[in-house]
Structures are given as C-alpha cells and as structure tokens.
C-alpha cells in the first residue's frame, strides 16, 4: 500500500468516525429527549455504537487493501 493510499484510508476513517459518532450521539439525544426522560445512557449508547461501527469499517478497510473505493463526483452543469 503506497503512502498516499494509506493517507487516503486514514482520512476516510477519520471522516467516517466523525459522522458515525455524531449520528449516534444525535439519535441518542433524540431518544433520550422523547422516550427516556432525559437520561444520559442513550447518548452514551449511541456514541459508543457509532464508534464501534466506525472502528469496524476502518478495520475492514485496512485489512482488505485490494478493494477499490469509488469517489462521488459532482456533475458539472453545462
């Protein structure tokens, strides 16, 4: 694996971790406010789940170096 590819994988991992932890925290916040009487455990549960999912994705990414990742390119309006 070249250095640039390794750097891109780390970038992807960090972005994925930020999004997943944030999403888990957000969902935990919504459920804490709506159903669980503003307790703290849904936030911790959601954030932990997001962190675990991000870690699992990173692990698969680093252990399968031959899988190609696509890029999303915006369409240019002419």
């Amino acid at each position: 694996m070249s250095d640039s590819e390794l750097g891109r994988k780390w970038d992807r991992c960090m972005a994925d971790a930020v999004v997943k932890i944030g999403t888990g925290f957000g969902l935990g916040l919504v459920f804490s406010l709506t159903f669980f009487k503003r307790r703290m455990w849904p936030l911790a549960f959601g954030s932990g789940m997001g962190l675990g999912m991000a870690y699992s994705n990173c692990q698969h990414d680093f252990q399968a170096p031959y899988l190609l990742h696509g890029k999303y390119v915006k369409e240019q309006e002419q």
């Binding site: 970038d11 991992c13 930020v18 999403t23 990742h69």
Partner: protein, 136 residues
C-alpha cells in the same frame, strides 16, 4: 396526600398521569414517535451509518453547505433584530501544510530516536576526551 416527586408518572392520588388525560398523552406520544421516527428515517435515507465512502461524501457535502447557510442565517438575524455582527479579522494564512509534512515529520522523529543512543555515546566520549585534554 403523598408529596409530589419530580418526574413521577403518578399523581398524588396514585393514578397514572396517562389515565387522567389519555387524549393528551396519546398526542404527546404520537408527536414524540414522529420526531424519533423522522430522525431514524433521516439517518437511513442519508446512509449516515453506512459505508465509509458515503460518510465521507456526507461530510464533504456538509462542509460545503453549512458555512454559507450559517452566514445567511446570521445575516437574516441581523436584519430582523437590527444588531450588527462584529467583523472578525481574517485568520492569518500559513504557508505550512500540516498534512503534507506529517509523514516526513514522523520519519524525522523516529530516525532521531533510533540514532539517539549512539549519538549520546559518541558525544559523551568526545566530551570525556575534551575534559582529559583540558586537565592535562
């Protein structure tokens, strides 16, 4: 009557609050269910908990959309309230690219650590020779 405890689901007579006003309780439950269901659907629709490629794309989209939206919101608030937002000075621009130099920085630090014992031995031997020369 028993004292009122904050967060209790029963009133002082012991009846559940839901039994006192079932219509209001059902409406509240529907609203909460809708909000929670909407949040879950939003996460599913945007694939926020999906593969890492999609998460990276979502983050890039958010980086493009959020700052202009925040700026427009602040402009709207200033227009409506008549307040003036303080103009912050532009952040200083550095010509140092941290991400590009991180790898070479790590390599430099690690090579310095690996030669540190031999260099320390060499410098201490040179220092000892120098002291011996001075004492003679």
């Amino acid at each position: 009557p028993r004292p009122r405890v904050p967060g209790a689901t029963r009133d002082v007579q012991g009846a559940p609050r839901a039994a006192r006003d079932p219509a209001r309780h059902k409406t509240g439950f529907l609203i909460k269910g809708s909000v929670a269901g909407g949040a879950v659907y939003l996460v599913y629709d945007q694939e926020l908990l999906g593969p890492s490629d999609k998460s990276q794309a979502v983050l890039q989209r958010a980086e493009e959309v959020v700052p202009p939206a925040m700026y427009q919101l602040s402009q709207y608030v200033c227009e409506q309230t008549g307040l003036k937002m303080p103009q912050l000075p532009a952040p200083p621009k550095f010509n140092f690219h941290f991400r590009d130099t991180w790898n070479s920085g790590i390599l430099t630090v690690m090579s310095a650590l690996s030669v540190a014992p031999s260099k320390a031995r060499e410098y201490s031997r040179d220092g000892w020779e120098y002291l011996k020369e001075r004492i003679k």
